[in-house]
Symmetry: C2
Subunit: 68 residues, 2 copies
């Protein structure tokens, strides 16, 4: 149910850290608000695929890689 959110949360947090970004620096880079990234990394939001796509582009991965 919400486990898709948790998978997204873990993948974003992991890949962001691997790339050496803080949440704030990454948020700027992705063109998304800082607190929104925070919410996503906690699984507190149910974002749309367009938001996932923007995050994926900022992380240079395929959008599907964030959900699996």
């Amino acid at each position: 149910m919400t486990d898709i959110r948790q998978r997204l949360a873990r993948n974003v947090a992991r890949l962001r850290k691997e790339a050496g970004w803080s949440q704030e620096a990454f948020a700027d880079h992705a063109g998304i608000h800082r607190t929104y990234i925070s919410d996503i990394e906690r699984g507190a939001r149910n974002p749309t695929i367009e938001v996932v796509d923007r995050i994926a582009k900022a992380l240079r991965v395929k959008p599907g890689a964030l959900l699996d």
Copy 2:
């Protein structure tokens, strides 16, 4: 921008047909409204990841496979 919608649209339509479902039968099976499936297959909507997850489960594929 909307190409993520088009990728989802094509993948859902293709996999649904391969499974031999009509839009309506598939919508019932996935627990989503029939008009919403129609909209998604036309790239007219920007669904949330929870909807993508429900569609993926109904198609027995990974959610990521619908976005790539």
